[in-house]
């Protein structure tokens, strides 16, 4: 999985971005304070115009080492037909654009696009490149479809 394009859109406030290339990945890294930003990851060709994942936040503050302190994180993944598959929300997290990881000791929530599955917990690690999420503590899942209890359908 590679980034074909990751674009930050600073909407409000002062935002300063430098552009850097890591291997064959085109990334745009904020080096200053940004607000209301969005980063899109696209599917591989021939679906390169379709957004696969969108990462957005209300505020991003630079941290030592190139990471960002992101407030009101929102990660959305999409299917090829454009439907939202998963939405992840967290009030705060540290996001490393270089390796595509976000983590926090705080609360987070995940919900599927159809609303059938809702997950929340405390402390998480999001690996952008593998689209995987680890929740460390107090995981609570609500599944609104038969079969989850094995015997209760």
């Amino acid at each position: 999985m590679k980034f074909k394009a990751a674009i930050f859109y600073p909407a409000i406030g002062a935002a300063f971005f430098l552009f850097a290339s890591v291997n064959d990945r085109a990334q745009q890294l904020p080096v200053g304070h940004a607000t209301d930003f969005t980063s899109n990851q696209y599917f591989e060709p021939p679906n390169g115009q379709q957004v696969k994942m969108r990462l957005s936040g209300a505020e991003a503050l630079p941290l030592p080492g190139g990471s960002l302190d992101v407030r009101q994180l929102r990660v959305e993944t999409f299917s090829l037909d454009g439907k939202a598959e998963v939405i992840v929300r967290a009030p705060q997290c540290n996001y490393s654009p270089f390796d595509g990881m976000a983590n926090s000791a705080g609360h987070m929530e995940l919900q599927t696009g159809d609303g059938k599955v809702h997950v929340e917990g405390d402390g998480f690690l999001w690996r952008q490149t593998s689209s995987s999420l680890t929740i460390s503590n107090h995981v609570r899942t609500l599944i609104d479809m038969p079969g989850a209890t094995m015997l209760g359908s």
Partner: protein
């Protein structure tokens, strides 16, 4: 005074009719010999899963729960140490669940009997092939079913959810009535 009450009554009736688009909606209880209409079924509450940690692979739509896993809904309570859930993209029905390590399931069957099932592993599979639905739970790793009148040991122990029957393999049964081992018999 009677005139005022009459006018007020007409006003209330008028308001009720106006709020129901002309259809009179009165709180009357009519008694007939016809069977009472069935109340609409209440939507089943979602199943809740609690655990210490969890990993979600969003590419293959799979969740793995670890540590003090508790699955509960109004009918069933299950605990284990590890559980894998395949989450279908369509969101219609879970198709594959694996519970492992100290699996304990408690539920009340259709006869109203409590069932307490323990095993090292439980695998739930749900498949629809044509018009046939296969829905089974296979318990393995020293599975035991404990019911009010009997305890049954079977390796493996398969619950066919479609037929709502247990399928035993070389079962050993202990009746609680006289405490003796009984011969293998069809229970369900």
């Amino acid at each position: 005074m009677k005139k005022i009450i009459f006018i007020l009554t007409l006003g209330i009736c008028g308001a009720v009719m106006a709020q129901t688009n002309g259809q009179l909606n009165l709180p009357l209880t009519l008694r007939t010999n016809a069977p009472a209409p069935k109340a609409p079924a209440k939507p089943k509450p979602p199943t809740e899963i609690n655990s210490d940690t969890a990993d979600f692979d969003l590419n293959i739509h799979q969740a793995i729960y670890r540590g003090h896993v508790l699955v509960a809904d109004p009918q069933v309570r299950m605990t284990c140490a590890w559980m894998l859930v395949d989450l279908p993209t369509g969101g219609v029905h879970l198709s594959h669940v694996v519970a492992s390590t100290n699996v304990v399931v408690d539920f009340v069957d259709q006869k109203g009997q409590t069932n307490h099932v323990t095993a090292a592993k439980a695998v739930y599979d749900y498949k629809v092939v044509g018009a046939v639905t296969n829905e089974t739970v296979t318990f393995s790793g020293n599975p035991i079913v404990d019911m009010p009148t009997i305890t049954i040991y079977s390796e493996p122990l398969v619950w066919d959810r479609g037929e709502n029957k247990y399928h035993f393999t070389e079962p050993r049964m202990i009746s609680k009535d006289n405490g003796t081992n009984g011969p293998a018999q069809k229970l369900f």
